[in-house]
Amino acid sequence: METQPYHRIIMLTGLKAAQVLKETEQCANIIKGARRPLMVVGGKIGESDGLGRPLGQYAIEIAESRGMPICASAHSRGILMEMGWMPESTLDFIDIVNHLKNKSWKGLMGEGNHDLVLFMGIRSDLLEQGLSTLKHFAPHLKTLTLDRHVLPHATYSLPNWHKGRNYQKFLDGLTEALGPQAQ
């Protein structure tokens, strides 16, 4: 299981790299421990990326399980709507990152800024830059990427899943561990 970034253009130059989560339970506990988690999805959630079904469906299930809002960036709102889900918010990726880095932001639900932000289906070069912004300028929150490859500027990242079925197994295990309903 590889923990270096898949795409060499996002190789880390620095000391503080993402903690790579190899175990489903570890990942589920981090999500469960968050008070105000947020899911941010991008234009690639319509793709299956080696999974049996689109990434977006996993995003919806994970968000639904914890009652966390979804912010649809890029053109992902229409993709979610086709999956029968209306995201709580639609913003440019940069705009949501810009809000998140502001500690006093009221959050997507008006209840305060988020303490854990999950990301799925965003171009890795753009996402890595946004994660860098949050790593350096938003110490008040943590980030977790659920894409198939390592993103070193995240607080927590999944490893590189070279085989789609292993990635699928991880996400299936995660949704199961988080449970079907919002608590």
């Binding site: 898949y6 795409h7 060499r8 253009i9 880390l12 130059t13 620095g14 000391l15 503080k16 991008g42 234009g43 960036s73 890029a74 053109h75 709102r77 229409g78 709507m81 918010s89 639609t90 913003l91 440019d92 990726f93 940069i94 705009d95 990152v97 810009n98 809000h99 880095k101 502001n102 932001w105 009221k106 965003i122 171009r123 890795s124 070069d125 753009l126 830059q129 946004g130 860098s132 912004t133 790593k135 350096h136 300028f137 110490p139």
Partner: protein
């Protein structure tokens, strides 16, 4: 503070006694002179940083870890470090253009004399809107332009010095300087382009600017082929002149890559365009070029190695790019040709005229012994069979392409993925380099690429006064506020509907363009032109946009009108032509506002920011010049959208309005009024996809001054594009509707329902008739004087 000697020097420099306009408050400004304006921009549009790395590696105290709030050994923090890097980029970009301009002017003055008159055609009265506005000089000759350029060169030195260790320490001041560097770049680029238009007889704003061939097979490979790469037209011009003088016009092909290619077509009908900068490795590796001539900017560092491998001769022509080659400038041309043809030497020639003769003679001699040919499809499939599926090719791809998948499909006999890959590839060659099987991936893509040739408009050049009246009127600028009419003596009322239709906005696609998808720019340009936006293109964006046909076989240049008006699609020219787009906005301020330009930068920028719905789009990413060009637009109040790769420029300027209050001054009443939010919303931002870009373009055209039908028209496009590409109504729509009359009729019912859900109420209170930020920042501009004098 400027002392009296300095003031005297400035007055002499700009010929202050010339009566064309009174001298404004900031002639020949230095970075601190415009700090009030740039800091005011930064107050609303705050820097957003996305560092590549955690470290600063700039000095021998380092490396320093700047993560988690740490400071470096010099005391710098992450924000200041990022802003310093951005300023360095802007200085690199501004210096590249200014140095290009210096060489160009030396060449032109040597040929035509420093008294050669500036001539952009009889219809262009404001020949250099940027130089006039920033410096306060009305240039008349090449010598004047040279003088103006010396001012830019001096400023770049000051700016660059501030990035040295132990100099500037505040990130906002670095940003202020970066914006000023962008301004210097605008001045330098304008000098570049108007000097070459004037002296080299390039197109002068003609609506029937010709269409030229573009494509990797646009040059007849049966003839001797000279390939020119870069941005400076001088060597290419001399090659074309030599062909003409020696009756060889039809016997030798001169083709180009990157901006040199565009400028070649502006000086000669014989020039061909291969394509944008991403075509370099592809085309060089075909071996079709008998001679490669490099000038400057955006040229690959490995051209000597690649040229040698392809069997092409190489002539470097710029002191910026010498490639360790022997300088043979002083040798006899025939002796150099002998070195090239018989000894296979690659050479440096720093005399464009000599390049013309040597390149031509060498190409003619080399053509009969050219041996390279294209790979056939059977060979492509065979080579693909060597792939071990390690996927290193896609792990190193800067455009995140699925290279491995395409190679595997080719091995299975399906070449379609490889063919499509050619059109999304940035041409860096990293996949080739990384492949452990040494599979020549680029050559394989080239072998299956379509040989299609397209039509591209060559660069049209500056706007003239008829264009300005047409565009200003259609943008709703014909209505200088009623209160101003009584005070602005030179105001002339202009027909609002001149040209037959309103323009929802001006959109300029500039710079590199072939990522993430080659067809993105063409598709966005088409969507916007159909909606009667005015679409400008320059440089590689102008090239790439030509390479998509509709079902009738037409591309955007063949389909849309080439006039500067609603729904027009125009290639303005090369990189250095970008100031003509900003210059159009400046001219609108002059023609419609009746305000003097001379050394009046802050006022003109404030005017553009609040009134002119223009947006720049730099879709692909590559060069530092993009940062300086974008900053030049920003400092004039024009927002810029970057494609997803643009996040790697590492700095954006975003508003962060959460309170719903935003004070703006009103020149007419002298009051400070709450307009709710800043317009444009951001000064420079990044979007992930072309769908999102289209929506953001429409939104960033909204301005405080939108009056009458302008706001509903702009909202119509914002809503319609959002519904088409994102789905549903924009969730921030209620923030942009100030009254019921601004609701677009086409969506009235659903928007009313939406507004009800948001508990929306019409905006109460006065709205500014003549919005301004003056009064909210320290400035040398005296509005009363300005209005009295206008």
């Amino acid at each position: 503070m400027k002392n009296k000697a300095k003031e005297k020097e400035i007055k002499a420099f700009i010929r202050a006694d010339d009566p064309w306009e009174p001298v404004g408050p900031t002639p020949m400004p230095e970075m601190s002179d415009l700090r009030g304006w740039t800091m005011r921009l930064l107050e609303t549009y705050k820097p957003f940083y996305a560092p590549f790395c955690d470290m600063c590696c700039r000095c021998t105290f380092g490396k320093c870890d700047l993560s988690e709030g740490r400071r470096g050994a010099c005391g710098i923090d992450m924000a200041a470090q990022q802003s310093r890097e951005f300023l360095v980029s802007c200085c690199q970009g501004a210096a590249a253009h200014a140095a290009h301009g210096r060489h160009l002017l030396e060449y032109l003055m040597g040929k035509y004399g420093e008294d050669h008159k500036i001539n952009l055609g009889p219809e262009v009265q404001i020949e250099a809107p940027i130089v006039r506005t920033v410096i306060g000089l009305k240039p008349e000759t090449l010598g004047d332009l040279s003088k103006a350029l010396s001012y830019v060169e001096k400023q770049i030195t000051h700016l660059l010095s501030s990035t040295h260790t132990g100099q500037e320490g505040g990130n906002l001041d670095y940003e202020s300087k970066a914006l000023f560097a962008g301004l210097m770049d605008m001045v330098g680029m304008e000098i570049c382009d108007i000097s070459q238009i004037s002296a080299l007889d390039m197109p002068r704003s003609s609506e029937d600017t010709k269409l030229v061939d573009i494509g990797w097979q646009s040059a007849d490979s049966e003839k001797p082929v000279i390939l020119t790469i870069g941005h400076a037209v001088m060597p290419s011009k001399e090659i074309l002149d030599y062909l003409s003088a020696n009756g060889l016009y039809n016997d030798v092909e001169v083709c180009g890559i990157c901006c040199t290619a565009i400028d070649n077509t502006r000086v000669s009908d014989a020039a061909r365009v291969i394509g944008p900068l991403s075509q370099q490795l592809f085309y060089i590796r075909t071996g079709i070029a008998d001679v490669i001539v490099t000038d400057e900017q955006c040229i690959r560092c490995d051209v000597p190695m690649e040229a040698a491998a392809a069997g092409s001769a190489l002539i470097a022509t710029s002191d910026k790019i010498c490639y360790n080659l022997e300088d043979v400038t002083r040798k006899d041309p025939d002796e150099i040709v002998d070195m090239i043809v018989n000894d296979k030497k690659q050479v440096l020639i720093l005399d464009p005229e000599k390049v013309g003769e040597v390149a031509t003679k060498a190409a003619i001699k080399l053509r009969p012994i050219r041996t390279k040919g294209l790979m056939d499809e059977a060979k492509v499939k065979e080579l693909a069979g060597d792939c071990t599926r390690c996927a290193m090719c896609e792990r190193v791809c800067p455009n995140l392409l699925e290279v491995s998948k395409a190679i595997q499909a080719a091995a299975d006999g399906d070449l379609e993925l490889l063919r499509r890959l050619y059109y999304t590839c940035v041409g860096c060659g990293k996949c080739d380099q990384e492949c452990p099987q040494e599979i020549p991936i680029l050559k394989m893509m080239q072998a299956v690429a379509s040989p299609e040739t397209f039509k591209m408009m060559t660069g049209r050049g500056a706007s003239h006064e008829i264009d300005v009246r047409r565009v200003g009127g259609a943008l709703g600028q014909g209505t200088v506020a009623e209160g101003e009419i009584s005070t602005v003596k030179k105001f002339q009322k202009t027909d609002l509907d001149f040209g037959g239709g309103r323009i929802a906005g001006i959109v300029a696609f500039v710079g590199c363009s072939n990522s993430p998808e080659q067809e993105d720019v063409a598709e966005m340009a088409e969507e916007l032109a159909r909606r009667k936006f005015l679409v400008f293109l320059t440089g590689c964006s102008a090239m790439m946009a030509s390479m998509k046909r509709d079902k009738d076989g037409l591309n955007i240049y063949e389909k849309f009108p080439s006039e500067i008006g609603a729904g027009g699609v125009l290639n303005i020219g090369s990189c250095v032509s970008n100031p003509h787009i900003v210059g159009l906005a400046v001219k609108v301020a002059q023609v419609f506002g009746g305000f003097p330009l001379r050394a009046n930068f802050e006022f003109i920028a404030d005017y553009i920011l609040h009134r002119i719905g223009a947006v720049g789009v730099a879709w692909g990413a590559y060069s530092q010049k993009a940062t300086s060009i974008a900053s030049g637009a920003n400092v004039f109040g024009i927002p810029v959208i970057l494609g997803p790769n643009g996040a790697k420029y590492r700095r954006l300027l975003l508003s962060d309005d959460q309170e719903g209050h935003f004070p703006v001054g009103d020149i007419r009443s002298g009051k400070v009024l709450d307009v709710g939010r800043p317009y444009p919303e951001h000064l420079i931002t990044v979007v992930e996809s072309k769908e999102r870009a289209l929506v953001s373009i429409a939104k960033l055209c909204l301005r405080n001054l939108d009056r009458g039908p302008m706001r509903p028209m702009r909202l119509y496009h914002y809503i319609d594009l959002h519904k088409k590409y994102i789905g549903g109504l924009p969730e921030d729509l209620h923030l942009h509707i100030r009254s019921h009359t601004e609701i677009p009729l086409a969506f009235k019912r659903e928007v009313l329902e939406f507004l009800e859900g948001k508990s929306w109420k019409p905006r109460e209170g006065e709205m500014p008739v003549s919005p301004t930020w003056f009064g909210s920042f320290p400035s040398h501009t005296n509005l009363a004087d300005l209005y009295q004098g206008a």
